[in-house]
Amino acid sequence: MENEKLFEITAYTENQVGLLSSIAGIFTRRSMNIEKLLVYPSRINGIHKFKITTRTTETLCRAAVQQIEKKVDVVKAFYEIDNERSDRERDIVIAFLEERERNNR
């Protein structure tokens, strides 16, 4: 059984009405939960950027990225494992909270 990890998917797209629901549909179909979603104009003129964080297996994540990139209005889609960075961020937050707890005693 393949391990679930946190992935960050990035898609560069045209600014097309309905694309958000079209991309969201790919996740719904495979019962993948979107943990986080950001849509904003990219630094490339006229191109929008989706950042989607999802917890899933790498096989499913790759399939979803391929399905996203297959959309006519999607320019490119990528994924990276978000675990390390977010684990680090989480560790920092937990350490901070633990220190506060200690100081509170």
């Binding site: 797209t13 629901s21 399939a63 006519v72």
Partner: protein, 576 residues
């Protein structure tokens, strides 16, 4: 340049001019409230656009699918909003999963009424987004020409698929200048990826090293027009090949390398050799579960190469050692140049044993029975002999489909139309109308069951009105046969809701003014077939076939493709 250029015309007229600019000659459709401006303008275009009035919008989309698959280019459907639009959805989903280029143009309420639950309003874009290659709403007349050009380009290019254009009332009645639009480039869309030289070289090396290579090809060969290139590739490498359901007719039935159809009701040899080969080369196919059986054991012993135009298919269902992205014709041409000519007599001989078992245990009893009721396979085989591989074979879904796929013969491409991925009962009759409209000079033979025929039987009205010379072969067993077969084999013969009490098909034919022959007795079959083909008129051949006939061989669900039922008692387990 059209004479309409330079002056303002309605969006409805821009639409029709845009269709003509795309080379459209035939439209399948059904009018209604929110598309009336288009239909009104169509009145002036009757000499340029042949509109085929179906009896239900589902008939329009399936007819368009049949037309598109025979022509190899996008077919157009026009329907109204709301129920008109929702009635095409089954066909849109079918076209998506079977990669069929169709463009649906649907009416929509006025811009101001969008989102207000207006009469016959439905969110068509929302409904069809998951089952289209592209779904787009047009709200202004000046955007129509560009949208139609884009729709046709997207539907027909790369891996084809359905496109929906939702045309609001404002877009139809508003005035704009008609500027002819062409579309052959969209910056975010790469329909035909360029195969990498390294991957082609690596594939050629793997093929040269393989001792027992085996090819499985699908509809990608047909889309790419790579029929000759496939045959040349198989010939040079002396490689045996099996076809998926939708790949049928891409290779001639008598090609020396052709072993038959793979999958659940496929032939023994290609299924067995899938589990025996040391290299599986998949071309223009998508490893559907009806092809692979259980994926855990599918060709596990073999290295695998997957050639496909759609990147999202590589490693989707079956992990492969090498994926080659590209158009089948180009990849096969380049591969054929690079591989060494070979003779693989011993490997190919393995198929002979399978073929002899299948002939003795399955084929002969089905197509050459000496007594008893007429077998459905027998009807198909007699018609195949009569047509000599030249007919376009259209099937419905179920036993009729599997038997038609197994026992038809093909001598040219684009000759098998079937609802493969979605398995849409009711597809056959309208698809046959579309096929005959696309190729009036070819014989079009529909094989359909009594269940499937009644799902879209209203299209007999279209045949009556258009005089479409479709030959309808009704394999009539008074059952929903395929479900009944599963109930018999896997549900303890509990025949739940599969018995059909049918109407008098003679009277139905009579009501529509169609010729019909009903056959019960084997001796009457050949004369009835001869009568059916005696002229170009539509004809129904109603054959009362063996009621509880089963389709074999069968790879039962959850089994490997070399664990095959030959009948309800005997199994064929090759290499075990």
């Amino acid at each position: 340049m059209s004479e309409k250029a330079g002056k303002k015309i309605t969006g409805a007229e821009i639409l029709l001019e845009s269709l003509i600019a795309q080379g459209v000659e035939t439209i399948f459709g059904y009018p209604g409230g929110q598309i009336m401006p288009v239909y009104d303008k169509l009145y002036d275009y009757q000499d340029k656009l042949h509109h085929i009035l179906v009896r239900h919008e589902q008939g329009a989309i399936h007819a368009a699918q049949g037309y598109a698959r025979v022509k190899g280019k996008p077919a157009f459907v026009i329907v109204t909003s709301g129920p008109g639009a929702t009635n095409v959805i089954t066909g849109v989903a079918d076209a998506m999963i079977d990669s069929t280029p169709v463009v649906v143009i649907a009416g929509q309420v006025s811009n101001a009424a969008l989102g207000t639950d207006a009469f016959q309003e439905t969110d068509l874009i929302g409904l069809t987004t998951p089952i289209t290659k592209w779904a787009h709403q047009v709200r202004r007349p000046e955007d129509i020409a560009e949208a139609v050009a884009r729709a046709a380009y997207i539907a027909g290019s790369g891996r084809p698929g359905p496109v929906v254009l939702d045309l609001t009332k404002d877009a139809q009645v508003g005035l704009a200048e008609y500027v002819e639009a062409k579309c052959s480039f969209i910056r975010s869309y790469v329909p035909v990826p360029e195969p990498s030289e390294e991957s082609v070289e690596e594939a050629a090396r793997m093929i040269d090293e393989a001792r027992r290579p085996f090819v499985v090809f699908g509809q990608g060969i047909t889309h790419s027009g790579a029929e000759a290139e496939l045959a040349a590739f198989l010939d040079k490498g002396d490689i045996p090949a099996g076809s998926t359901l939708l790949g049928l007719s891409a290779l001639k039935s008598d090609d020396p390398h052709y072993l038959g159809m793979v999958g659940m009701h496929g032939n023994l040899a290609p299924n067995a050799m899938t589990q025996e080969c040391d290299l599986l080369i998949a071309v223009g196919m998508r490893f559907d579960d009806r092809v692979t059986g259980t994926v855990n054991t599918y060709a596990k012993q073999a290295k695998k190469i997957h050639i496909d135009i759609d990147a999202s298919e590589i490693n989707k269902n079956i992990k492969v050692d090498l994926g080659i992205l590209g158009d089948a014709k180009e990849v096969l041409t380049r591969l054929t140049e690079k591989i060494r000519p070979r003779m693989r007599m011993g490997w190919k001989a393995a198929s002979e044993y399978c073929r002899s078992i299948e002939t003795e245990k399955v084929i002969d009893p089905e197509i050459n029975p000496e007594s008893g009721m007429i077998k459905p396979g027998e009807v198909i085989a007699r018609i195949a002999e009569s047509c000599d591989g030249k007919a376009i074979v259209v099937t419905d879904v179920g036993q009729n489909q599997m038997l038609a796929a197994r026992y038809s013969r093909f001598s040219q491409g684009r000759s098998l139309l079937s609802s493969g991925g979605l398995g849409t009962m009711g597809f056959g009759l309208p698809a046959a109308i579309g096929a005959k409209t696309a190729a009036p000079d070819r014989q079009v033979c529909l094989f359909v069951g009594d269940g499937g025929l009644q799902m879209t039987i209203q299209e007999l009205g279209t045949i009556m009105q258009e005089g479409t010379g479709v030959k309808i072969v009704l394999l009539n067993n008074n059952w929903l046969g395929n479900v009944r077969q599963w109930q018999q084999l896997f549900f303890g013969k509990r025949y739940s809701a599969t018995r059909m009490i049918n109407p008098d098909f003679e009277k139905i034919a009579q009501a529509y003014g169609l010729d019909i022959a009903t056959v019960d007795d084997r001796k009457d079959l050949a004369p009835a077939i001869a009568r059916m083909f005696a002229d170009d008129k539509p004809f129904i051949l109603n054959v009362h076939v063996e009621e509880e006939d089963n389709v074999f061989p069968m790879v039962p669900p959850g089994k490997s493709v070399n664990e095959i039922m030959l009948n309800s008692k005997e199994w064929f387990e090759y290499g075990k």
